[in-house]
Amino acid sequence: MTRTTRGAAFRGAALVGTLALTLAACSGGGGGDVDPEAAAEEGGELLVWAWDPTVEPIAEAYMEANPGVTIDLVNAGTGNDQYTALQNAIGAGSGVPDLAQIEYYALPQFAIGESLADLTELGADELDGTYTPGPWNAVQQGEGVYGLPLDSGPMALFYNAELFEQHGIAVPTTWDEYVAAAQALHAADPNAYITADTGDAGLATSLMWQAGGRPFQVDGTDVTIDLADEGSQAYATMWQQLITDDLVAPISAWSDEWYQGLGNGTIATLVTGAWMPGNFESGVPEGAGKWRVAPMPQWGAGESVTAENGGSAMSVMEASENKALAYDFLEFASAGDGVALRLEGGGFPATVADLESEEYLAEESEYFGGQKINEVLSQAATDVSEGWQYLPFQVYANSVFNDTVGQAYVSSTTLTEGLSAWQQQLTTYGNDQGFTVE
């Protein structure tokens, strides 16, 4: 929260002003009966489902700028809970919001169900180049754009520098070093673990992504699943070492134990998305000054490849009766004045201009001991490996991850066997749902 200086806010506002002008010029040419700006002037009501706390100040700012518009912001649950509610509303055909926050991994599922409006007609194609490639690819399905990025999660290594120093362990730059550091750390202090994991589909798929694995290939309704490809197996082999030697703490992410562990030196590192600093500041006050950010460990020495983890977009629902107005608000939140407000709230931007601004890069984070963490995170955003696809039923896939792959954490099953079981279940499900899965 304290990270964003006033200067950044000004700069953000200035940038946004320019952007708005450019867009105004563009949409003036397009015109037609679906003109977002005219809709904003005309006013109306919008129902928005989002759990991200920074959406609220954005909605307020938007209502202030457009007095005719009333935004009803509803927190219908975080992540899966909200998708459940959304799916129910879509199924029932009533109560569907105009806009909904949807994580990137879940977007294809809603897009293929034709629940989301294609934003190209409303001018979203003009935003090409505004966002970093990771999130921009994630909101596209085929020819359409089905949402605008709210944030992004290029991955980095968050580590407890104090702990590493205390035991004289070097910060790992490759995954081999990471495993070695895990062993050294646990040997030096049996209560300390390199990280905590009880089987997290998001982390697993992100590590496969970074390793060059492309287990999910989607072309319309033709889906290919290959969780035995080289990248996926590289992940499985490496992570298996950590599990076999009991080097990962069996603590589920976001639990009380987890927050405590991050603060008290039980958990030494987290490899996760760039949206994490805000959570550190609010959830792990004891960790202040101890934690630092480093580039994600690499699969080969000297490389610099990252992947995305988490992050969400906001989409206009197909059922919305006021898509033009909804889009106008969305653009405000995603590429307009809203971005500065989100940064103030500790979010990580998906917009290139913000990531490249010198002021943003030069910011020193008090929590991270005065480190210029945005330099690392911004670099991570540009290093995201391209060509990753999620399944059009990733929400389901992630829900059964622990049934299959998760067994490797609690039994003699290996990750490779778990991945094969996962693949089998996903293939069955996909075919049941009318996809052609190979």
Partner: protein, 307 residues
């Protein structure tokens, strides 16, 4: 019955029709409001579930009528059977333990020899007043091997208790929570039944020289057999519908509690993570029928003993 059957035979045909028609309509007038609500909230959902269980909705391809295919699939679904097996084990172990403890406590309270009876009665009943969600969260915290009670015990006594939330023990851990929650409730049912036993029977037993044990087996237990059957049926239904506890503990033990841990959890996952509403309805209906059959068998057995 026989009395009402006689007059129509004597009375003229027209009178019979009038007499039969009028009461039936008046009756419906009284029952109507209930029937309307009953149809809306009980029959309609069941009918709707039956209806949608005959279809299959796909993400690609929409909805098609598939007849009984979903039922066929459920009967051959290893995940469904593993869920059913798990709650059956739960039923076979947890219910007798819970009802046994409840009975023991009820008999102790009823014996009149317990000092501070009202205090014990209320404190044993108290867990039932704690919402299941809160109780599970609380127990989940205590089960923690790192910061929870189990962790503290390990640390204080230098022992290493097994993790209650590991796959082998998690069912027992859930059984413990459910027992804790429902002993008080069942105790109250038994205790209430015990209070209705006329004291003259005890006096007679005393005169006959019967000891406490004899009084229990010959008077108290036979007297509360109805209550035992009722509590048993409730517990069977509760076991088959096991959902809250595993669902909440899932976030603490995601690998030990699968998405098909219990039939209800399976139906929930099918419908809300997999959007397989049709198949989910099928699983729910099959479980409903199974529960009814087993509860009915227990009731029949209980009644026969009574007779």
């Amino acid at each position: 019955m026989t009395q009402t059957a006689v007059p129509p035979a004597v009375a003229p045909a027209a009178a019979v029709r009038r007499r039969r028609a009028r009461p039936s309509w008046t009756g419906w007038g009284f029952v109507g409001p209930f029937m309307a609500v009953f149809a809306l909230v009980f029959l309609a959902p069941i009918a709707y579930s039956l209806w949608i269980s005959l279809f299959r909705t796909q993400l690609v391809g929409g909805t098609t009528f598939v007849g009984l295919e979903n039922y066929q699939r459920a009967l051959a679904d290893p995940q469904f059977w593993s869920a059913l097996g798990r709650v059956t084990v739960f039923l076979a172990v947890q219910v007798p333990v819970m009802l046994g403890i409840a009975l023991l406590v009820a008999l102790a309270l009823d014996s009149g020899r317990l000092y501070g009876r009202d205090f014990f009665r209320i404190s044993i009943f108290l867990p039932y007043a704690v919402p299941a969600v809160v109780a599970t969260l609380m127990w989940g915290f205590m089960y923690g091997t790192r910061f929870g009670l189990v962790g503290n015990i390990n640390e204080a006594f230098g022992v290493s208790l097994p993790n209650p939330l590991s796959p082998d023990l998690v069912l027992a851990a859930i059984g413990n929570i459910v027992t804790w929650e429902f002993v008080g409730y069942n105790m109250l049912i038994f205790y209430a039944a015990l209070r209705t036993v006329p004291t003259s029977l005890y006096e007679a037993a005393e005169i006959d020289g019967a000891g406490q044990w004899r009084v229990i087996t010959a008077i108290k237990l036979p007297a509360i057999r109805g209550a035992l059957v009722v509590a048993g049926i409730f517990s069977i239904i509760g076991s088959f519908q096991l959902f809250n506890e595993p669902s909440i503990l899932q976030s603490l033990a995601p690998n030990a509690i699968t998405t098909y841990f219990t039939p209800n959890l399976y139906a929930f996952s099918l419908s809300f993570s997999g959007q397989q509403y049709n198949y989910s309805a099928t699983v729910a209906l099959i479980m409903g029928v199974l529960t009814m059959v087993i509860a009915y068998v227990v009731q029949l057995r209980g009644m026969r003993k009574e007779a």
